[in-house]
Amino acid sequence: MEVEQLQRSFLEYIAALFREGFLDGQFSQLQLLQDESNPDFVVEVVSLFFEDSERLLNDLTKALDQQNVDFKRIDAHVHQLKGSSSSIGAHRVKNACITFRNFCDERNVEACLRCLQEVKQEYLLAKTKLEALFRLEQQIVAAGGAIPILDEFS
């Protein structure tokens, strides 16, 4: 595939991610921090996010499976996940965490289980889409092109 075609596909894909609310402005901020001296910055941060999130989601699953559910602990985990998703611009994951925390306050196990499902779903969606985005980037670079920056205000 031609470089320009790949670049167009990339821009369309990332524009859709912003439009559909999967990503927000914070992701653009990450892209701005990437340069020749830190060419893999975004992938590195997002990879840390994947590892950290999977750990937190596992901990949350275990915590909600206990006889006596420790809501304080669950809230702490969700707070962390909310923070990290916010830091990378994973907008829908962040919002799912906000909803989750509200139900933690109510100490409602059933609702929390549903929230956890929702968060997991949003996380998997975000992960799939970000991985697809990074694959497109790799294809562009392999074809000798530069990764275009989406102008959010155009």
């Binding site: 701005l32 921090l33 590195e44 840390l48 702490a76 923070g83 990290s84 830091s87």
Partner: protein, 200 residues
């Protein structure tokens, strides 16, 4: 940006955050401003790095990068020089607020500017941090525009007697704040309004 300071030593910032993602982010942001950065993942490690931890049970393995070797625990004479401390508020164990208090109580470090970060915009929290002596309170996610606000605090720390050419930049930062003006000073807090960010 070329430095007006004759002394070429870079400013050294200590960043404290329990989130590995946020540590990576703040480190990158600080490095784009050409600061030397040390990151630690807890308040306890920050105190240890500064030499402020009283007890000697430090088997803790510190994760510092691009930083000079830390002062030995229990050693009163500090080799480490830190020009600014930026810390997360919500951390397990010693919170950012505890850390702020301990630094302000320390004769050696009380004049080092301390900046707080938090994902939550809680006015009472912000107020108490500012009253406790924090110079700024950033709402996360921290951005380049926030990090740009650090420089005047760092420059103030450098002696101005030796460098008379330094411009004393106090125009937009209200360096001397009266207590009643410390609540929710708009210049210090970035508010989000439906995903539009207003830098007030």
């Amino acid at each position: 940006m070329s430095s007006v300071i004759a002394n070429e030593t870079r400013f050294h910032v200590l960043a404290v955050d329990d989130s590995i993602i946020d540590r990576k982010l703040i480190e990158r942001l600080l490095k784009t401003s050409s600061y030397q950065v040390t990151t630690v993942d807890s308040g306890a490690k920050a105190l240890e790095f500064l030499g402020l931890l009283e007890d000697e049970n430090s088997g803790i393995n510190m994760n510092t990068n691009s930083s000079p070797p830390p002062a030995t625990t229990g050693n009163i004479h500090h080799e480490v020089e830190v020009n600014l401390i930026i810390t997360d508020y919500c951390m397990p164990g010693i919170t950012g607020y505890d850390l702020l208090r301990k630094i302000k109580e320390s004769r050696l470090f009380r004049d080092i500017p301390v900046v707080m970060m938090s994902s939550e915009n809680v006015p009472t929290r912000i107020n108490s941090c500012l009253q406790q002596g924090a110079q700024e309170f950033f709402i996360k996610p921290v951005q380049q525009s926030d990090v740009n606000k650090l420089r005047p605090h760092l420059l103030k720390g450098r002696s101005t007697e030796a460098q008379p050419n330094i411009i004393n930049n106090s125009s937009n930062l209200n360096a001397k704040r009266k207590p009643e003006e410390e609540s929710l000073s708009p210049s210090r807090i970035r508010t989000k309004l439906n995903d539009l960010e207003l830098v007030q």
